[in-house]
Amino acid sequence: MKILVAIKRVPDAETTIKVNPEGTGIVNAGVKWVVNPFCEIAIEEALKIKETKGDVEVVLVTVGRSESQEQLRTGLAMGADRAILVTAENLDTTGVSRVLAKIVEKESPDVVFLGKQAIDDDSNEVGQMLAQRLGWAQACYISEFNMADDAKSAQVVREIDGGMRTDKVMLPAIITADLRLNEPRYASLPGIMKARKKPLEEIDGASLGVDLEPKIIIKSMAPPPARAAGRLVESVDELINALKNEAKVL
């Protein structure tokens, strides 16, 4: 069996993000980059299947700048078998899903895992778009995944508004991981050492023959307004007055 996991390089949640002076994007210098946390969960799920089912190849793929190698190496160190880096810049979700569809065609995996969204843009689109392009079933926001013994289908628990929903999904399918699916493992020292020798294939995005032109144009980007400092009020009256007339919540 083969499992493809698509991952993304994103700024660490604790890094301070600054918008560049032109307002077209963020400043990359000084940013700490990590594997998108939801993608880490996706990798973990694939590795768990590998551990229980045995004969499973876990292949990682990412679309991005060549620095994204670092994140692929992290996934390899966690235990994935090999990785594919498709180099391309400034794609939007339509372009990424087109590239991934090509890779799926090439690799023909039995199931594709993705994070439900990436914590940089929070788009929550790539998995769904990919399913559409491939004409595959999709199960998004899953917090439980149980593959049937014959590997032809899987039972999944999905997080939906106000509750959980259990579905059966026919494979191959697109699965996107939610927070509670599992707790991703650390890359161990032996894992990190082994990752060095695992294959990492680089493919030029332009060579795939798909439309990489972004359909979403970022007109401007601005940081949220800074929160004003709080102040101490002298009396209840002053508080009520402020709530009524300044905050306008009463």
Binding site: A29, S188, L189, P190, I192
Partner: protein, 616 residues
């Protein structure tokens, strides 16, 4: 006070990165065959994973484990909640074996990177980290000196974390004077001996983290010569090990009690009774009697460096916590508005004296870290070049020897003092358990005591290490420093500070001459009186050199790199400023120590004992 597990450990990974790669250029070691199976990329990943483990697993346990302490139930020590899970996770990650040679089954990573891993683990939870550190030290001895069955039986389980390890030197009458140990060994046959005696103060002496504990015990074979020359080293497990590797019956090692301590309360410190029932078996290490001290020194040297790192680690987190508090706590108004009672309240970081304290802490932490990494890089190169270029390897080995007592004593003393400053920055809030710094202060006091008190380190420096390789080590050390001073004395940015270093180094030479004079003329009491101030002065100069060297690099990065973030710019500016502060506020204290050493004052020696106090 809440016992909710929150992580209060703070690490500055950017600062570590600077010291490793920008200042001391540790990446150079990867070009040597010995380390060529690794690159910076893997090391960075390992640092990242270790930092994550520190933050997620052991950092949150630090406060609660301090309050819970270790307990003893039916002669078995129980460690605080969460330690077992953290221990399994740590060995699953494999971090303890990072620097262990490939031939022993480790990863053969450079110690310079390993020092950062130690800092992260110890800073997050010093007590917890005692257990794997002692296991590593004991394992290293087994790996180096044991052969055949003993090695087969114990090495792998100690690397996997199935078995813990200890070092048993101290006895109630044998502390600093290890040679007066009386624990007895009587030969049964081959390398098997019967062991009997009581060891005190044994860190990790008993615990419930693994299945067994492997004690490395110093004992005296009947008829052995007196003193350190008659000491042998034995592997003594808590439980005997069956032929199939499983843990068998008790080996007659009993935990008599554990100490109630000022700090590192979650690290058990045990009194162990060996052979109370005449049924305790040990295996002679290395197959030769009376070589115990030499063998134990292998472990003690690395243990001393680790103790230095413990001081650095506590200090670094204490500093970063104090810094965060100082940015947040509002008190008083700016001194510039002293006439205006209604002036806005400011964060205490705006007060000059708080800045002075923060700056001293910053400079000392950075200085200690560069000292530790410097020593570790020498160690890496001495290993990597041993075959290819023995002369250069010997140079590096000599610098390791010379710097080891300095790292142990300076980082442990200053570690404690930085923690004390951190408490001062917090004010009353630093004295209570809601904030982590009171624990750092308590935990860090032990560092100047165990692994040879800091005075023992000072004696090691002046009596032995200054004369290492017939004085060549000191010559090498001094010429590196002189060259730096000559090259940079007129630097437009920090020339004045480099000259201040030069003046202090000149003073140290004079103090060194006095020390030699006391030694040659047999004034041994005067010599030992001056050993500690000498070590302190030499340490400050070594650190001053490293800080100024780093400042030059930081200044270059700051002015020559256009494509840098504001953070980087501020970071480099901060490195230059802390080096200048060190040179102007701290280096001058060297002159006071030099004056004391040169004075040949005998009052501390000649005062009648009753003159200290006639009341008691």
């Amino acid at each position: 006070m809440s016992d909710a597990a929150i992580n209060q450990y703070k690490a500055d990974l950017r600062s570590m990165e600077f010291t490793l790669y920008e200042h001391l250029k540790v990446q150079e070691v990867f070009t040597e065959d010995y380390f060529s199976h690794l690159s910076r990329e893997e090391c960075d990943q390992i640092i990242e994973q270790t930092a994550r483990f520190a933050d997620e697993y052991i950092g949150p346990l630090n406060g609660p484990a301090d309050r819970a302490g270790c307990t003893i139930v039916d002669g078995q020590v129980i460690t605080p909640e969460g330690f077992k899970a953290a221990w399994s996770k740590l060995y699953e990650l494999g971090v303890p074996n990072f620097a262990v040679p490939l031939e022993h089954g480790g990863f053969q990573g450079p110690s310079s990177v390993g020092s950062v891993l130690h800092e992260l683990l110890s800073g997050a939870n010093c007590s917890f980290n005692m257990y794997p550190s002692l296991t590593l030290g004991a394992m290293d001895l087994v790996a180096t000196f044991c052969k055949g069955k003993v090695r087969e039986t114990f090495l792998e389980p100690m690397m996997d974390g199935r078995f813990g390890g200890t070092m048993c030197l101290s006895e109630s009458q044998a502390g600093s004077d290890v040679g007066s140990a009386t624990t007895k060994a009587v030969k049964i046959e081959d390398n098997r001996y019967k062991i009997s005696g009581t060891k005190c103060w044994i860190s990790a002496g008993d615990h419930d983290l693994g299945e067994n504990i492997v004690h490395l015990v110093l004992a005296r074979v009947e008829g052995a010569p007196a003193g350190t020359k008659g000491i042998s080293l034995f592997v003594v497990p808590k439980y005997r090990v069956n032929d199939d590797g499983s843990v068998g019956e008790s080996n007659d090692v009993q935990t008599v009690s554990i100490e109630h301590k000022l700090g590192i309360k979650a690290s058990s410190t045990a009194v162990l009774a060996f052979g109370e029932n005449d049924n305790c078996e040990g295996f002679l290490v290395g197959g030769e009697e009376n070589s115990g001290m030499k063998q134990m020194f292998q472990m003690m040297n690395s243990a001393r460096i680790i103790v230095g790192i413990q001081g650095l680690a506590a200090a670094s987190s204490a500093y970063l916590n104090a810094l965060a508090y100082a940015r947040d706590r509002k008190q008083g108004s700016s001194v510039k508005a002293f006439k205006d009672p209604n002036a806005p309240r400011v964060a205490i970081i705006e007060h000059s004296d708080v800045r002075r304290m923060l700056m001293e802490m910053k400079a000392r932490v950075e200085g200690m870290r560069s000292l530790v990494v410097k020593l570790s890089k020498h160690q890496d190169l001495s290993l990597a070049l041993a075959e290819k270029d023995p002369d250069t390897a010997n140079y590096h080995k000599g610098q390791v020897d010379l710097l080891t007592p300095i790292v142990k004593a300076y980082c442990s003393d200053q570690g404690f003092r930085v923690c004390e400053l951190a408490v001062q920055v917090y004010g009353g809030a630093g004295y209570v358990q809601d904030n982590p710094v009171e624990q750092y202060l308590r935990d860090s006091k032990i560092f100047s005591i165990y692994e040879g008190t800091n005075h023992i380190q000072a004696l090691d420096l002046v009596v032995r290490k200054l004369r290492g390789r017939k004085g060549q080590d000191l010559v090498d050390f001094t010429s590196n420093m002189t060259e730096f001073i000559q090259t940079n004395a007129n630097d437009p940015g920090i020339g004045a500070e480099v000259r201040a270093l030069g003046a202090a180094a000149q003073g140290l030479q004079e103090a060194g001459a006095s020390i030699m004079e006391y030694m040659m003329s047999g004034k041994l009491d005067q010599l030992t009186l001056c050993a500690t101030p000498f070590l302190e002065a030499m340490s400050e100069i070594t650190v001053g050199h490293l800080l100024l060297e780093a400042a030059l690099i930081a200044e270059e990065c700051r002015t020559q790199n256009d494509d840098q973030s504001q953070e980087d710019f501020d970071f480099y500016a901060g490195r230059v400023m802390s080096a200048k502060f060190f040179a102007n506020f701290i280096l001058p204290t060297v002159h006071a120590k030099v004056a004391a050493i040169k004075s040949a004052d005998r009052s501390a020696l000649d005062i009648p004992d009753r003159g200290f106090s006639t009341a008691w």
